[in-house]
Amino acid sequence: MGRAVTRTGGVRVRDFVHILRKGDKGQAAAFVQEVFAQTGSRVALFADLIHPAQYEIGDLWYRGEIGIADEHRATAIVEEITSALPPTPAQGRLPRGRCILAAVGAEQHVVGLRLVAAALEDDGWTVTMLGGRTPGAELVEMVRKRRPKFVGLSAAYLPRSDSIKTTIGELKRLRVRVLVGGPAFNRNLSLWTKVGADGHGADVRVAVALARIAAA
């Protein structure tokens, strides 16, 4: 396996996907460390390597080229490696305020949401992470009490969008911005407007940029 980053700064995502498919955690960790050392930023690492690799792994499963166990193994490796990375605060960052992140209803997939939480913290946000399977009513109640600048909701699979649409409607009535993300929204690019969100963070870098705009 060659260098993880090309001379022009491109990240070799394809090589990383190959490593994840093999399930080689040691090699995956070394690869991530190399990209991390080059970029010096969790946001860049997540957006340029982790997210596209995870998307590709999910797509390989979707096309029937790998099994669900392979996909889960890749996710577990990514989760373990990324959770051990130290914070990389953005230079000259300002305290931006509070935000709340959650996956509501039956949604239990929060790996991407954890990456967004880390990226937002590096950008100066105070993040309250509620995790998966958060009841919509309790999320609304917490927002009412804590008054965050925005709420970020993630969904991997939305068999019906009514529930999240209702939750977003209640949050909007509290005059709180709502950003959404996750595979369910990445697969259906107009879904975020249909559920009434203010923006769609296609990856962590977009999420950080939209959060800044939401807070402005």
């Binding site: 340029d48 979707y62 991997a156 939209l210």
Partner: protein, 221 residues
């Protein structure tokens, strides 16, 4: 933030990690983007443009696609075959040749589609079959179709491929899917191949909800 926000090239650059120069270059090539212009002539990009650029970037980096193919795939044009594959993968890629193209079409349909030989073994199957029964497609080749069927329906399922072959419509069979209910209605046609016959079977979901592309109980990635 309005419901239809627009972004400057600088904002799009900060969102995508692409330089303004690269964004404008991609815009020129293959008509990748068509931003509107503000009253002062500045480019204004939509949220869809941002999503599109990120997808193109992912496809070039994760699959090594050329910009042209990445743009096509990001637009939802038929999936291309330049995917990451192991050397051991002997399965033809989805886009290889006319047959591969039709197979890719079959993979998109919300129906179970299987080709059976005269002994009832699976010659080929589309991806919804693999997902429904929880196996990889290549693992299905050579498997007896009746092994995918609930025991009480196996005799009925075997009639699909046993002589005398005949066209069958609405042949209802319970398939052993990962969800609790697996009743499908199969239409089956004998197809001559060389000296022998294959049977093409198309199964429609009778459970009401249709075939889910991302079943909730299996941990969609």
């Amino acid at each position: 933030m309005s419901s239809t926000p627009t972004y400057s090239v600088g904002e799009v650059g900060s969102m995508t990690g692409l330089s303004p120069h690269t964004i404008r270059a991609w815009e020129r090539r293959h008509d990748a983007l068509q931003p509107t212009r503000s009253s002062t002539g500045q480019r204004q990009y939509s949220a869809e443009d941002v999503d599109f650029l990120i997808r193109v970037k992912q496809l070039t980096r994760a699959r090594g696609l050329s910009l042209k193919l990445a743009v096509m795939e990001a637009r939802g044009v038929m999936p291309v075959s330049e995917t990451v594959t192991d050397a051991s993968d002997d399965e033809p890629a989805a886009g290889d040749g006319p047959g591969g193209t039709w197979r890719a079409v079959a993979d998109l349909l919300p129906y179970l589609m299987v080709l059976l030989d005269s002994r009832g073994r699976i010659v080929d199957a589309n991806i919804p079959v693999a997902r429904a029964v929880g196996r990889l497609r290549r693992e299905l080749q050579g498997v007896r179709f009746v092994e995918l069927v609930e025991p009480h329906d196996r005799a009925k399922a075997a009639k699909i491929y046993r002589a005398p072959l005949q066209q069958r419509r609405g042949w209802e069979v319970n398939v052993k899917t990962r969800s609790a209910r697996g009743l499908f209605s199969f239409d089956c046609w004998p197809i001559r191949r060389g000296d022998g016959w294959l049977v093409a079977c198309i199964g429609r979901d009778l459970n009401g909800a249709g075939l889910e592309f991302w079943p909730a109980d299996e941990g969609a990635p």
